[in-house]
Symmetry: C2
Subunit: 263 residues, 2 copies
């Protein structure tokens, strides 16, 4: 037991079927982390009956009864203690965690709605964006979730080939950029390269055994692996906080220009 | 009235506030299309109380009671007439439509959960994927929604600069690739370039008036504008249906390699 390095890890997962690859990845992660002496928290979104839709019920005490602005009401609810208990509890878990692992089946190249609704509702103004009431001062590498690690574990129906650099679906890591960069790195998390199990629609015992070994190894190195080298907003690459400096990734455009070691 | 060119258009939108930019874009689109003599169908997801979460309640008659496989149950529910009435109704609207317009606020670089859940639940196996029970034979340009056009109208809180080719968020069209390419082109729709209103967090009357004019013009040309030149799976660029042929976009990788006119 490495009590001195004991960390808290939150595992958020989204599949209702107990035998799904998603549940298996969640169970394996939990087992590996506990064996390392870490504390594991769970958010089983289907099991919890998580409310996916972000709506006026999220704001029992509105500052503006006439017009619903999510940004305004989210900021006020967060700073005045008016958030709903389910949202408060998820924020408490994230804030207590040194790392967050999101495990989900890839549905239409993104998260299932229930997990998207977890982000929509829990990523409050003042915490995950508009941090410290300072607009976009702190984002992409700094913010309310700074100092935490994040890792996606994704169950993918299609083949690895379809997600390869020239595969027809597009590379998985680029399809997930709105999540890794835009959702997790934005409020300050350090995001590890995505772990994927491919071909889950027809996965047999051998394939699952190989995936299990690979996943165990990735979870074991959760606090050691190098994060994706996303460029931080305030590290010098974006002098105006909006656009890459001319000398950074010169002549490159698009998503990969925001990763330091991709050319 | 151009009755001879009368088309059906489905507008799907996702914001609960009647005065939101999303609702305004929806109202404008409806007005323009009706003035052109078209028939307009609406799916106001918040207004309808759309069930966002895809779960076992979507399958009142299961083929496998022991283990929930979404692909298997979706395919069986679709082909055997066991889908829930709300899903059947949305599919009916899409199938009746010559074009589908999705209007939403960009939340964490993607759709709100309620709209993601509309896709998750309505894009059935046998219709939007696994078309004709033929695996991946028909996808990316062919499939259950072939011959229809699609257009995204997106309300974006941040500035256009942040979404510019070297902007810190990444280019909007690349962030939306999982939706335009992976969700709409996949089952066969021809997808137009995305329309965005930026800076909606602080949009004043002048900005909204300009956005309104631009949007009117885009909706007027819904059936005339050139779609994004996504490469079709069966058009010759993917000889094995999985990976780009060597001579196509040689040496390019990533999302933009799948667009014919982007170099």
């Amino acid at each position: 037991m490495q009590l001195i390095n004991r960390k808290n890890v939150l595992i958020v997962h989204a599949h209702p079927e107990r035998t799904s690859v998603t549940h298996q990845l969640s169970d394996i992660a939990s087992e590996v982390l506990k064996a390392q002496g870490h504390e594991v928290l769970h958010s089983d979104l289907y099991g919890m009956g998580w409310k996916a839709v972000f709506d006026d019920q999220d704001f029992p005490q509105r500052v503006n009864q006439d017009r619903l602005s999510f940004i305004e009401e989210s900021g006020n609810a967060f700073s005045n203690g008016w958030q709903t208990p389910d949202v408060v509890e998820e924020q408490r878990k994230i804030l207590a965690a040194n790392a967050v692992i999101l495990i989900f089946p890839l549905w239409w190249y993104s998260m299932p709605a229930i997990m998207k609704g977890w982000v929509d509702r829990v990523w409050a103004f003042g915490l995950a964006y508009g941090y410290r009431g300072a607009g976009n001062t702190y984002r992409y590498g700094e913010g309310g979730f700074a100092g935490k690690r994040a890792l996606l574990g994704v169950s993918v129906g299609g083949s690895a080939q379809d997600y390869s650099p020239r595969g027809i679906n597009g590379p998985l890591e680029q399809l997930l950029f709105p999540i890794t960069h835009g959702t997790l790195f934005f409020p300050g998390m350090q995001v590890l390269p995505t772990f994927a199990v491919y071909g889950t629609a027809g996965l047999e015992a051998k394939g699952m055994a190989e995936a299990t070994m690979a996943w165990r190894s990735r979870v074991e190195r959760l606090f050691e692996d190098e994060p994706i080298a996303f460029r931080s907003q305030n590290g010098g690459d974006y002098p105006d906080r909006h656009v890459l400096a001319d000398h950074v990734a010169p002549n490159q455009t698009g998503l990969t220009a925001h990763i330091a070691d991709v050319s």
